[in-house]
Symmetry: none
Amino acid sequence: MRIKDEFKQDAIFNATVKMVNEIGFVSSSVSKIAQQANVSPATIYIYYKNKEDLLVSVYIEIKQRMSKALLKNFDDTQPFRDILYNFWLNGFEFASKYGNYYQYTEQFANSPFSELVQNSEIEKHFEPLIRILQKAIEQKIIKNVPMEILTAFIFYPMMIIANHKICKTVKINKQTIDQAFLLAWDAIKL
Amino acid sequence: MRIKDEFKQDAIFNATVKMVNEIGFVSSSVSKIAQQANVSPATIYIYYKNKEDLLVSVYIEIKQRMSKALLKNFDDTQPFRDILYNFWLNGFEFASKYGNYYQYTEQFANSPFSELVQNSEIEKHFEPLIRILQKAIEQKIIKNVPMEILTAFIFYPMMIIANHKICKTVKINKQTIDQAFLLAWDAIKL
Amino acid sequence: MRIKDEFKQDAIFNATVKMVNEIGFVSSSVSKIAQQANVSPATIYIYYKNKEDLLVSVYIEIKQRMSKALLKNFDDTQPFRDILYNFWLNGFEFASKYGNYYQYTEQFANSPFSELVQNSEIEKHFEPLIRILQKAIEQKIIKNVPMEILTAFIFYPMMIIANHKICKTVKINKQTIDQAFLLAWDAIKL
Amino acid sequence: MRIKDEFKQDAIFNATVKMVNEIGFVSSSVSKIAQQANVSPATIYIYYKNKEDLLVSVYIEIKQRMSKALLKNFDDTQPFRDILYNFWLNGFEFASKYGNYYQYTEQFANSPFSELVQNSEIEKHFEPLIRILQKAIEQKIIKNVPMEILTAFIFYPMMIIANHKICKTVKINKQTIDQAFLLAWDAIKL
DNA sequence: GATGAATGAGTGTTCATTCAT
DNA sequence: CATGAATGAACACTCATTCAT
């Protein structure tokens, strides 16, 4: 018998991201994705139970790659501010390289599909960051506010600014990235 | 000729928001919306050119109501910080009252439909706020960074935090709202 | 607005019977039926909730026509044997005229769909016959055995013999019909 | 070369009968049957040319087992009535033991597949019974009517009554079986 | 012999939209 | 203005069958 073709699975993954980016969640049909991947629609159902499973799986995969990228060179022996800054730079690098991944996750997260994914499933990948944030609170480096508020000022502005849609008018460069980081830092620091 | 029934148009508006909230953009079909509005599918085509027109119109309408709500009691003779704080409170009040509106805009903005709406069309409603932000920059009250960066630390965190999805674990109350405002303020202030 | 086209509904009914007769339950798809009825597949879903509803509705309709035909000239003031003989003749007449109806019911009854139809729903149409059978038992005209056994010797042999498939070798005529009735009569009479 | 695995073939046979009984002819797909038989779909195509061949072969196999069961202890030196009674008892025993076989044949016989099977192919197994029926006609023990009419009063009522579906209200026991036999006998006897 | 991967053609069903009233 | 009937095109998904191993 034939063995499962790793190349095919990858083609389906890429086709899914591409289609969702180009024509959106609403219009991305299984057959269009299949066509983009140069594969029969039926083949998709070998690798994924159904369309929902496909979309969710792609989302989780992206989130994993994302967390991996954002935590690159993560080193909790460094000063807290440096760790955060490194995280910040990683974010912009990832967003500029994989803007399409980001767009996919945004569309997914703002659809009812998102309820199918355990939030904890996603967040566990960011656990190291959460931990040093908590430590920084204890060491009175940053403000003692709920984690959700902290991330609202670190994570989301970064994503918003890095997202290419916003950046039509503003050129993103080292200076803007540093400027933005300063705002984030001022927001949270004690 | 009879005039278009204001009541029916409103029913269609509400049905559209409700359906998108309940079953998402992907599954919201014209006939389902019509059913929810107690109206024939054909009737929708009297008020809107097609489905796209319906979705876009609803989006713009919501954005208008939103800007109106956020700028309530806007008074540019007040100190800048008070204006911003008032804006902040309005945001949380709106989000708690009209979470469904917010969810609709999020789904819409993260879909390719959003490209059909002139960004300026939306932003013009927030023009008063933009103006006082620029004045505050000139007066060296806040940091001199691009407007997009400023809003990324004022507008988006507010929306994120106010959005009920986030608030499963954290109870939103006057204290958290004030805490969050402090972070936003520290982020932008000089 | 257009009103429901009685002609269309009839065309769908006939197309369903015809297709099931020609290519069987297994192969009769909604689109084939629609094509046969000169109608869009979508149109069928205006008149019937789904395929199952279509098949069941057609079955019930046929059964109603069938019972009506079999009980034609039913007159319970006549002698019991005459009533039964009349019923018998009606059966053969119906089968010869509407062999396709019979074939449909057989395919339906021997499929899992049959469980979707209340047996009582069908049997109630034959209630007059059941009543005179019971009276005949009380008057000691026929054997006192369960109703199911009686009908197994009246109804089913008639249907089997009348069914055209059987009759490839045997020519059905007045004589065979009378012969068969004699067997049925001898079977049940006391 | 390995020889075809008798065990596998049997598993496919049983799986086919089981699936058709559980979900009907219409929904019984090759892959579902394969899964039920713990076998790859491709394996089925080693033993059978195609799906049609599978269904037909299973039908013929069942019919063979059936005729064998019904003619158990067949002894044409016995009196005709005893032979028939023995046949009758065998029928009920088989039906109670192998109701699923019976259901399969009914679904098959009432589908267009049945036309693929030579009727003579099936009937040849019942040839001994046919022969003594003819002898009984010559000996003026039973009525001189076409064979199809005779069997319509012997074979079909037995099957109908024995079929478990009918027997929801009536308990089948030795008494009912004997009652029913009496009707059959009265029907055909001279 | 046996298998799971692979697929084009088909399934039942819903879609956005138009039409006749 | 308002409607439900009507539809071709598309939907998600499964089918019988073949292929490479």
